[in-house]
């Protein structure tokens, strides 16, 4: 019979070994840097129109999410939390304090997929491309399924300050909540301006919006 004191020591030892092994494998699960790959990426692209070759340079979030194997590890989960905090810290509330704009404009912004490509210009009015991935107004049957349905968004959740803030943050920078969200960071990368995001907010939350009928 092993004495209680020693049993505890053995248990702690096993936990420690497993922990270290876990961390080791997690660290090894991270993608090794590849100079050959970096060279390929640097040489395979060129600037065209408004799409500068600088776009190939990744920020910390993009770099992290480009390694899905690492993302799915324990160490990856910890890193994800850190990146979510970093993304959240960059979000500003609306400068005029107003969260809701005009839902009619919001619908037009949600429908438009324009902007940002090398065939667009700096003067192109960017759209949100929201219907590419989401169901929003049920009347629009031509919608994608990469993101969840937003039908009855406001009707289900109400329009408390908490919901207003959450939704505002989500549209501005979805990675504040999910580091590897598939949704573009519309505010962070200035894809949409404040007014456009206020209009989208109205589409989702305004009780008059067709989305909440």
């Amino acid at each position: 019979m092993i004495p209680m004191k020693n049993l505890l020591k053995i248990q702690l030892l096993i936990l420690f070994v497993l922990g270290v092994a876990g961390l080791c494998t997690n660290v090894m699960a991270q993608q090794k840097p590849s100079p050959q790959f970096n060279k390929m990426m640097a040489e395979s692209f060129r600037s065209e129109g408004i799409a500068s070759v600088d776009r190939i340079t990744q920020d910390a979030t993009q770099k992290f999410c480009s390694d899905p194997q690492f993302v799915s590890t324990v160490a990856g989960a910890i890193k994800a939390q850190e990146l979510q905090r970093l993304n959240m810290a960059t979000i500003s509330p609306p400068s005029d304090g107003s969260y809701l704009g005009d839902w009619k404009s919001g619908e037009a912004i949600a429908q438009s997929g324009r902007g940002g490509t090398w065939t667009d210009t700096a003067n192109t009015t960017n759209g949100g491309g929201c219907y590419n991935c989401h169901e929003i107004d049920k009347k629009e049957i031509s919608h994608g399924n990469i993101g969840p349905s937003l039908w009855n968004y406001g009707k289900i959740r109400g329009n408390s300050q908490e919901i207003l803030t959450y939704t505002w943050n989500r549209i501005n920078n979805s990675k504040a909540y999910n580091a590897c969200s598939n949704m573009p960071r519309f505010g962070h990368f200035k894809i949409l301006n404040e007014k456009q995001i206020q209009d989208l907010m109205a589409l989702l939350i305004d009780p008059q919006s067709p989305v909440n009928q």
Partner: protein, 270 residues
């Protein structure tokens, strides 16, 4: 049989019929689409490009006034039958892994004296790229029905595959998109356009086996290079150089994932 049991059996029967009907309708819609595809397959305008491509292959051209009939696409000089199904592959004479279009540029330069840069610089569907469309259509027609069979035996081929996989997951640009953003999971669609999951065998076969294709919506024949180019455009990436290594690496990734599947090229798309 008691009344309750009778009602229960009836409801069960009704439910089974409804479910059965739903599947029957879903299946018949899928069948109808398949029948429609078969029907219009004989009217694939890709054939017009193939006809023009055959002429360009056989007719002397370029400053050297030579045909492409000695072009080696990996199965020996002039062998077109089944060649596209085995690309991309490593070529000893250029010491690199090449896809169909970069290999055709090699042939056009070496045999005909047509500078590759002139093909690279041309806009899609114009001048030397217009000729390329036709020649590609001709070559891939000769792999229709053949099994996709790319090899990773050569270390450069293996490296290309690994780089292609890494490129597939590479997030960048103002939208944070990678190929995986749209093509990394199953059952997804943008608007009403289904997206093949290129990380799986079925998805890779659906994509790699059906491009190049004639796109009815634009009335244009698109090669795989053009398809990749437009993907990057919509991802808000910078411009991928025609025939560059990233395009070959991604092609290698898709082709290897599709190995064993049947080439249905040239395809016909909406």
């Amino acid at each position: 049989m008691t009344l309750a049991r009778g009602i229960f059996k009836n409801i069960l029967f009704l439910l089974a019929t409804l479910i059965g009907t739903h599947y029957a309708i879903a299946q018949s819609t899928a069948d109808d689409i398949a029948k429609y595809r078969e029907m219009i397959a004989e009217g694939n305008p890709s054939e017009l490009y193939e006809m023009a491509g055959e002429e360009l292959w056989k007719k002397p051209g370029g400053p050297k006034n030579a045909s492409l009939e000695k072009c080696d696409l990996g199965m020996g000089p002039g062998v077109v039958d089944g060649a596209a199904a085995q690309l991309p592959r490593y070529f000893k004479d250029t010491n690199r892994v090449q896809d169909l279009e970069s290999r055709l540029m090699t042939c056009m330069e070496r045999l005909q004296g047509i500078a590759s840069q002139s093909v690279i610089d041309a806009k899609f569907g114009v001048g030397p790229k217009k000729d390329m469309d036709a020649i590609v259509a001709y070559v891939v027609t000769h792999s229709k029905g053949k099994k996709i069979k790319v090899s990773l035996a050569n270390p450069k081929e293996k490296a290309m595959y690994e780089m292609g996989k890494r490129a597939f997951y590479y997030e960048a640009g103002p939208f944070d998109f990678s190929c995986a953003s749209c093509h990394g999971s199953s059952g997804k669609r943008i608007r009403l356009q289904d997206l093949p999951n290129l990380t799986t065998h079925e998805g890779a076969v659906a994509a790699w086996g059906s491009w190049p294709a004639y796109r009815v919506s634009s009335g244009q024949f698109w090669t795989m290079q053009q398809r990749l180019n437009d993907c990057f455009r919509q991802q808000r990436f910078p411009f991928p150089i025609y025939g560059s290594d990233v395009t070959i690496a991604l092609s290698m990734y898709m082709a290897k994932n599709a190995n064993g599947g049947i080439m249905q090229t040239p395809g016909l798309k909406r």
